[in-house]
Every structure is written in structure tokens, then in C-alpha cells.
């Protein structure tokens, strides 16, 4: 499944890459352009964010993206649709990323069934802590989906261990304080953080901290700090600023 897929990619490439889109932003057509470029560039995983009106874990760029998408009328069905198409057309794996209320309101079982039917292999729900996710874990497992756990640099060692005991697919290690898109440099103590994760992780480790250049990727590859490099803000920013061509050359520079 997901874990196996990631391991294979890491074996081949040294590090896998996970991209990100906000469904419906700036439009579904634009989403498709971005997805096509990601596919061409050899991106391995894509988290497809279902927009939510209160995205508390997101920074300004994605916040705007969530709200602009909703203002245009994006519905959950539209998100499942593009996911289904992407899963069919492209070679990367897709994951749903979104807030718990979207899942909760749809019903955990129902939501996971529809996810599975759309070809997803997992979900990332940043406002759903371990303490609250028993129901969703079950619904996900039944549908062969991995509920991706997140760890944060502010977590204690015990907490990281506790989370990793429950990890499935891979673990998403937030490598900055704050929300998506914040430009934190690796602070001191970050090496220790990676070592703690490595110590307890039986699954691959994804790291996101605002990756925007090849050096960032190389850093993660070194000493096997991470298995998956997560790129989100940089992709959207590049596309918004310099369009599809810009995005193509961005990927060439960083992954080519």
C-alpha cells in the first residue's frame, strides 16, 4: 500500500516528493495544469486540499486559497471529482488533505468510502489529534486508506513516540513552528527532532518547512533526514506568479 509505494520511490530516487493543491484554486482548470506539471516533474504524492472556511492550520496564502475557492462555489463533490480524474490520469498517488469538519459533517465512513472511490490512498487532517481520531482510523482502514499522522517540533519525545506508534502510510513531520507557508529556518534543536522521529518511526517520514530550492531537498536527503519532501506554498506561489511555464522551470531547477 501507501508505505510500500513510498519506500520503493525512496529506494529509486533517494527522496520522494509530495506536492499540494487547493481544490478549485485559483480554478479547477489551473489545478489540472499544476497537476500535469507535477506529474511531468515526477512528483510522487499529491495532497489535494478540500477547502474549508476556517483553515486554522494554514497561513495567509492557503487561507486565501481556501476562501477564494469556496467563494467560487466549490463543493465536496467537485473535490472528489478532480481527485478521481487525477488518480486515474497521473502516476502520483493522491491524498485528501482537509479539516476535520469536512469529514465529520459528511460522516467518517461515508467520507472514506467516497475517498476510496476517488482513488485516494490516504488523508491528512491537521486539526484532528490522536485523541480524537479513533473513528476515522477505523473508517480509513476499512477503506484501505492511511490516516497520516502529523508530528511537530514542539512535541515532546514521548508524544512523538506515541504518535509514531499509531502511524500509517508515512508520518508528516512539520518542520517549522506555525502554519503553512511560514518562513522559519531550521532552528537549533531541529536535528534532535529529526533524530527522535527516526528513532521511533517505522514508517517513512515526510518533512515540510517551506521547501523552495534544490539545496533544501539535498539537506533532507543527507543522512536520510526525510523520505518525503513536501512542497506546497512554493508550488502555488510559483504558479500564481509565473504560470504553468514558470512552474515547469521551477520543478526542473529543484528536481531535474
Amino acid at each position: 500500500m501507501l508505505e510500500k509505494f513510498v519506500r520503493e520511490r525512496v529506494n529509486t530516487k533517494g527522496i520522494a516528493v509530495m506536492g499540494h493543491i487547493v481544490c478549485g484554486y485559483p480554478s479547477f482548470e489551473a489545478n489540472m495544469e499544476i497537476l500535469e506539471e507535477m506529474d511531468k516533474a515526477g512528483v510522487d504524492l499529491v495532497e489535494m486540499q478540500f477547502p474549508f472556511s476556517e483553515p486554522i492550520a494554514d497561513g495567509p496564502l492557503f487561507l486565501t486559497a481556501n476562501q477564494a475557492s469556496l467563494d467560487k462555489g466549490t463543493k465536496i463533490a467537485d473535490c472528489f471529482n478532480i481527485m478521481k480524474e487525477a488518480s486515474k490520469r497521473f502516476s502520483f498517488k493522491t491524498l485528501m488533505m482537509g479539516y476535520y469538519n469536512t469529514v465529520f459533517k459528511a460522516g467518517e465512513v461515508n467520507f472514506c468510502e467516497r475517498l476510496k472511490a476517488s482513488g485516494a490512498c490516504g488523508l491528512i487532517v491537521p486539526d484532528l489529534p490522536l485523541e480524537e481520531d479513533a473513528g476515522l482510523v477505523q473508517a480509513a482502514e476499512v477503506n484501505n486508506l492511511s490516516l497520516i499522522r502529523l508530528v511537530a517540533p514542539t512535541n515532546t519525545g514521548e508524544r512523538i513516540q506515541q504518535i509514531l506508534e499509531h502511524a500509517s502510510g508515512f508520518v508528516y513531520a512539520v518542520a517549522r513552528k506555525g502554519v503553512t507557508g511560514s518562513k522559519t529556518k531550521f532552528a537549533e534543536g531541529m536535528e534532535e527532532y529529526f533524530q527522535t522521529i527516526k528513532k521511533y518511526a517505522s514508517v517513512p517520514v515526510a518533512v515540510g518547512f517551506g521547501i523552495s530550492q534544490r539545496a533544501d531537498l539535498d539537506y533532507l536527503k543527507e543522512q536520510g533526514r526525510a523520505d518525503i519532501a513536501v512542497m506546497g506554498t512554493a508550488i502555488l506561489k510559483t504558479y500564481l506568479e509565473s504560470g504553468r511555464e514558470g512552474l515547469a522551470s521551477f520543478f526542473k531547477n529543484i528536481m531535474g
Binding site: F52, S53, E54, P55, I56, A57, D58, G59, P60, L63, T64, Q67, L70, K75, I76, Y99, Y100, N101, T102, F104, K105, A106, P126, D127, L128, P129, E131, E132, L150, V151, A152, P153, T154, N155, T156, R159, I163, V174, K177, G178, V179, S182, T184
Partner: protein
Amino acid sequence: MDVFNFDKKGYYGQYGGAFIPEVLKTTIDELTAWFEKAKADPSFWVAYVDLLHEYCGRPTPVTHLQNLSHKIGGAQIYVKREDLNHTGAHKANNVMGQGLLVKRMGKTRVIAETGAGQHGVATATMAARFGFDCTIYMGDVDVHRQRPNVFWMEQLGATVVPVKTGQQTLKDAISDALRDWAHSMDTTHYVMGTVCGPHPFPEMVSYFQSIIGLEALPTIKRMAGKLPDRVYACVGGGSNAMGVFQGFLDYDSVELIGVEAGGSGMGIGQHAARLAKGTTASAGVAQGYKTAFLQDDEGQMLETKSVAAGLDYIGVSPILAHLAEIGRVRFEAATDTEVVEALKMVMQYEGIIPALESAHAFVQGLKEAADMKKDEVILINQSGRGDKDIFTVAEAIGDPAWDQFLREKAGVKDA
């Protein structure tokens, strides 16, 4: 009745919890631990009460509204006077308590969200008094409609950040404050302004606000010679309601009534009633907790509307959502029009100016008093004073002299 003693800590029936990004987990856990420790330490409550007495002027009195009781001819109407609290509302109780906790935790900066601006002013006040840095998040729409409060927050030394995303109101300010906190928790405490948000906030804010009910219970018993038959409070997030209700939860004979913002009617986007009859609100999870939210089928939050900025919010205390579910608290809604009428009555008959928020509680209390017996007693919690609302009230009442005054102050020459 101990509403804080459920099997699952931080839950109230099916509501509550802590739905937070993992990055905040440690901070929230630490906060919970500090709070538990403080709660278990009798000297903390003493220090808290001392601070409120010396700095905020507590205890606040209970006032018998003889004129209105007589005019209405039903129940005897009593009012708990949170309007006399320093900064003009019950909000001060909570922030002062959290301030003491922040000092214990050794943090040096506080952040807060604010809608009407009352909680922002209260937090800025607390920060000035405790010597903390202070940043207040406030929806850009609110920054514009509540400029006087923004002015005072700034004068008190706070930085006010206008939030330009979403509806640009309270809920967006909460989201932005949570975002700030996710960066800054090492030095910073998030001063949640009401009994909402992730655990331990609902319990913690209830704890601090309980001083309202603790004061009110013996006072009204002494004054009225009996327990009140009904207690009314307006409900935005629910902190003033939880505050006063806690004094009476254990007394089954006392009916508790929460009054929400009925806005211009129960149509979608026209109000902020989440628990009253006729609302379309449903259980959901947002802003860190599970409660009844005004949301659509897919869980997207709806617009809300009220003449009272402090009630204009999508969510409501998980504790109140639970108390509504088990029938311990009855919920009603008051419309904007009723609110302005009640405000006028209370001003003219009693010389008291309730905040627009508080006037919601008066609407329901006055309405029901009429059908009650003369030896029955009701207690209305006046959560704050209405001076702050002059721009809104003058507009609602349509005072031409006020308009003229504004034009002059704005340097507009007459046509």
C-alpha cells in the same frame, strides 16, 4: 451538578474536546497542567478575587429594578451589574484570571481575538497592568465598526491586527490568533475571550467567570428573600452566561435561560442563534472544538448577523450546547428590533444602559416577567455597559443630531 466532571476530560456530553494542530499540543497540555495546578491551589483563587476587588471593583452589585417590575406588573426583576466591572463588562474577570496564570507560566506576551472589542480592551488592559506585550486580532470589518475600542486598545499599548480574511469578523480573528499562537507559544499565551475553543479554555474561562454566579447567589437570596425563579443571560460564546449560571446550576428550581442573537430573523445568515428553537445550527468541529455551529451541509461556516457585535459568532460554548441538550438551560433568541426597544425601556425607567449584547437578556426577561407572579423573582445578568455602543445605538435609533455631530467632527461643512 459538576459540568466539568465527564468521563472524557474536556468533553461535555458529545461537545468540547481539543481539535488542534499538533504544533499546539504541548502548549495546550502545559496550559491545562498550569490551570489544574492553579485550581487546586486555594491561594490562587484568593489572589484572583483580591485582584478583582482591588483593581476591577468587584463584587458588582445586584440591583432591584423596582420601576420596571412595577410597570410590567409581574415578577420582581433583579439585575447583576457586570457593567460596573472595570473596562465595562464581565470580560475583565476572565482576562485578569488568565493574566495571573500567564504570570505563573512565566510568559511575557499575550494575544487575543476580539469581536465587539470588549475582550480586546479587557486583554489590553490586563496586559498593561501585568506588563505583557499584547497583540489583538480583530476582523477588519469589526476594526471599522468598533473604532473607539481599537483606539483604546492602542492607547493601552496593544497592537491591533486587522484580519482581512473570511468574513473579517470574530471567527476570522480567532483563526488568526490561533495561527499566531502556533508560532509564538514559547513566549505567548492566547487569552481566549469566551467559553469556547479547545479544552481547557471552556473550563478555564468558566472557572474565572464563575465569580459572577458565586457573588449573585447569596446577594439575590438576601435581597429577594429567596432564590430566583429564572436567570437570564445573553449568549455569544457563552462566558457571561456560564458565569452567572454556575451560581445556580445545583438548584433545580432555578430555570436558566440563554438568549442568543435573533438578528433580523431566523433566515440563514440573518442571526446568530445556535441553540434556540428554529435554528439550523448543527454539531460540527471548528476553531479547535466541537459544538453546535451555524454551518451548511458540507460544514462550511455561515454568515451571522446581529446588532450586537459580541454575539455575532458561529459557535457557542460546548458546555452550553450540552446543557441545552440535557434540558438544563433553555435557549431563546431576541431580534435586533426587540433589543433596541428593551434598551430604551431600561434606560428610561431605570437609568441603566445595558450593552446591546446584554439587552438581549433583558428582552427575554422583561417578556417573561409579565406572565409571572409578583412574588416570583428573575435575575438578569447585565454583562456590560452600553456606552461603547453609541455609534450602533445612535444609528439604530436614528438620531439626526448625532449624525450632525459626526459630520462636524469629521470636518464636513454643512450644505
